[in-house]
């Protein structure tokens, strides 16, 4: 198999794994951090699909600003562990 196809396959698999981990994770803080890493993997996928504009925007917005907004909301709400509030 070609190296590009293998690389792309691994990245797509990692994407699905990250999404499932966000679903099943325990505390909210962990979920937000895994969500930020999911956004970074998406950024690499955009580069592989030859769209560099989308890569820069997704890196700055998805992992940077959206993640920070979630963390700041968690600070305002002050309930990071929702094991009893599923």
């Amino acid at each position: 198999m070609e190296l590009t196809v293998l690389f792309r396959g691994i990245l797509l698999l990692l994407l699905v794994v990250c999404a499932i981990c966000v679903n099943l994770s325990g505390s909210l803080l962990r979920a937000v951090i895994i969500f930020m890493s999911y956004s970074m993997i998406m950024c690499i996928l955009w580069i592989l699909m030859e769209s560099p504009d989308l890569a820069i925007t997704e890196a700055a917005v998805g992992a940077g600003i959206s993640g920070i907004l979630f963390l700041v909301t968690l600070k305002k709400v002050r309930e990071e562990n929702d094991r009893d509030e599923r």
């Binding site: 504009d53 309930e79 509030e85």
Partner: protein
């Protein structure tokens, strides 16, 4: 059919991500998890849309060396659509998080069932 699915792996994964986001939106009762699910749905849609524009063997749509043939660049239209979409997605997330903060200040819980129960009883009291 399975071989087409394997070849269109990007679109299939985009659909699976959409499905995962949708289930997060339906199943969890915590408001912030619902928002994360909505964000995952958004990114899955963008992946699907932008993978429609990729053509193997061609380069990014930036004119280099004066080459302006049609068969040297990928399709630029989906990239433009997704660029707008990403920024709109973060705006919607920000407004929803503001709503979540206000709901928390009013009811002191992030659980949707409790909010519903409390608001129902408050309405009855009035």
């Amino acid at each position: 059919m399975l071989s087409t699915l394997l070849n269109n792996s990007e679109e299939a994964v985009a659909i699976i991500l959409f499905g995962i986001g949708f289930t997060m939106l339906l199943f969890h009762r915590n408001l912030i998890r619902k928002l994360i699910g909505m964000n995952i749905m958004d990114t899955g849609t963008f992946l699907f849309l932008a993978s429609m524009g990729y053509i193997t063997g061609r380069k990014a749509p930036i004119v280099t060396n004066g080459v302006m043939e049609l068969d040297a660049y990928i399709n630029p239209v989906p990239a433009g659509l997704v660029l707008t979409g990403i920024v709109v997605s973060v705006s919607v997330t920000a407004v929803m998080l503001a709503l979540t903060v206000r709901l928390y200040k009013r009811y002191h819980t992030l659980n949707l069932d409790e909010i519903y129960k409390l608001s129902k009883h408050q309405m009855e009291d009035r």
